[in-house]
């Protein structure tokens, strides 16, 4: 469970202080499918980075599974990120010199998991992403959709509870974009909390909960229960 309390994130730009996040209070339960929308500079990426522990709030508290993670030191935050959070980026961020399999393996390598265990997990990840025949290919030999699926496999290889996607379809054509979003949604249906930041209204509309941000504040937060689509495993709480 993600719980943000009175989160303030300020940046100094020249002699002006910009409030990228201005008193944000938000609770996201396990298994939710949340889209975050809003104009550029509204703070949606900052929110995602903060939830992903890539950024720290200027003030306020962030509880992840009832632990105050803002109090963790850098090393503990890294471990938390490795075990609980997966990132999917617009530009994929695959390491060009490594093969698809090696890219997927990276979080396990960083966690110090022995090679024999890693190989088995990478294999099943490749299998579930339909990438087995692409395992030994370098990123530049893969299509955009394949690259993003490699990135998703990498983000989920440590079996995190939260998957954060920042414009995951932004660099993809419509067909592979849809394929990627369906892959993400499948993961959500298996229980992962999915938070997608996007400009794309159509993509945003697919989620069960839509957050709209303007000027660092949550403008609206609507639960949109679609027919036939399950909501998270508990109630959505607005705070």
């Amino acid at each position: 469970m993600i719980k943000l309390q009175n989160i303030q994130r300020n940046f100094q730009v020249g002699d002006q202080i910009v409030h990228a996040l201005d008193d944000v209070n938000l609770t996201i339960n396990d298994g939710e499918y949340v889209s975050v929308m809003g104009p550029s500079g509204s703070g949606k990426s900052t929110l995602l980075n903060l939830v992903g522990l890539l950024d720290s709030p200027s003030s306020g508290s962030y509880f992840l599974n009832d632990h105050n993670v803002t109090e963790l030191d850098e090393n503990e935050q890294a471990i938390t990120r490795n075990q609980n959070i997966g990132f999917v980026f617009q530009v994929f961020h695959l390491i060009p010199r490594l093969t698809a399999a090696e890219n997927i393996e990276l979080p396990l390598v960083l966690a110090g998991i022995p090679e024999s265990v890693r190989k088995a997990r990478v294999h099943s990840a490749l299998e579930s992403m339909n990438l087995l025949d692409r395992a030994q290919h370098k990123p530049q030999e893969l299509s955009g959709g394949q690259r993003q699926r490699v990135a998703i496999a990498r983000a989920t290889i440590t079996e995190p509870s939260i998957l954060l996607a920042d414009e995951p379809t932004g660099n993809l054509d419509q067909k592979s974009g849809l394929n990627v979003i369906e892959t993400l949604e499948q993961l959500n249906q298996r229980g992962i909390t999915l938070i997608v930041v996007t400009h794309d209204a159509a993509l945003g509309a697919r989620s069960t909960r839509s957050i709209r941000m303007i000027d660092g504040r949550i403008e609206s937060d609507t639960i949109d229960r679609k027919p036939g689509q399950p909501l998270g495993n508990s109630d959505v709480t607005l705070t």
């Binding site: 990120r81 075990q83 980026f89 010199r97 990276l106 390598v109 960083l110 110090g112 022995p114 440590t158």
Partner: protein, 403 residues
Amino acid sequence: MLLSRDAIQFSWQALSANTTRTFLMLLAMSIGVASVVILTALGEGARSYVTNEFSALGTNLVIVIPGKNETSGDNPTGLIGITERDLTIDDALAVSRHPKVTRIAPLNIGAAEVAWQSRKREVSVMGTSYEFQKIRQWKVAQGKFLPKIDLNRGSSVCVMGSELRNEIFGAHAALGQWLRIGDRRFRVIGILDSEGQSMGMNVGDSVFIPVASAQALFNVPALFRIFVEVKTREAIPKVITFIKKTIQERHQGVEDVTVITQDAILKTFDRILSALTYAVGGIAAISLFVAGILIMNVMLVTVSQRTNEIGLLKSLGASSNAILNLILIEAMLLSALGAIAGLILGQLGCWGIRSAFPQLPAYSPAWAIIASIMVALITGALFSLLPAKKAARLDPVIALSKR
């Protein structure tokens, strides 16, 4: 935590992905290590060369020099001792009475004109004895060395150095000819081997006559040196004491000779040449530091080129420490590979020097090899600390958004 094996593999992949950069870095580091190896090998080679030359002089050798080598207020000539009493043949004979003394050879040196038919030449004339050749371990190419006669007796025979022989006699047979030295005539009875070169003496260009003849020729009773060969190394201090005491007694109680040993000279040379080896090694080590600075530059460029990657690694759960370690491992791997390449290069260089100059035993000393590798690794680590810290401190959000 990242396993070290995986970290090394990750760094290795990073290095092999950029072959040009890696090759240039290896080159810089290996040249540094190779120059330490080669220069110290040269220094060591020179040291062994000198040591060998000295042992060729005969090992348990003691040399008696007239004059007390000391600085004193009433000695206006300063460092060079002067003496009122000459070192004489009788002094030499007195010294030879010690049971541990196996051989003695007096030496007198002067310059004189030698001539045969119309050919003339100004050379060093050495007055000495039969024993001298044995002590200096010279080889005689033709004929024999000076005869075994009473030191106080002159004889009109001479032995020539091979170069001098060639210049004076050319194609003519030299043995048995009468050579004029100064205003006297000497029969040539032997030619020294050209191999008989020895430190500090140009043997090839000298002529040897009995010591008594030389005294008469130059009209000086004083000896230039007395060479004393001692039976064993252990007996040297006793013999030195004996020499000093004997000559002091003979010189009315004045200790006016200096006794030096082969060992002392050798040690001095050894010290000088060792210092030289350290010095050139140190100079060469500067190139290792230059290589270290190169590594720092390249790693700084690497860090800024791979900002995205570092941001990604952080987002995947790499701590700042893990990033620091990865960059350090990469730099250390570079330095280690460079050091190994440099070692191979250096050994090849030493082998080349030994092939070109067989008399120079150019082997790099173990300390230089170990030190150069250590310096390479330490500079590699030290100079990559800055880029590694820079990488570790990168803000992942900014690093990821950098294009």
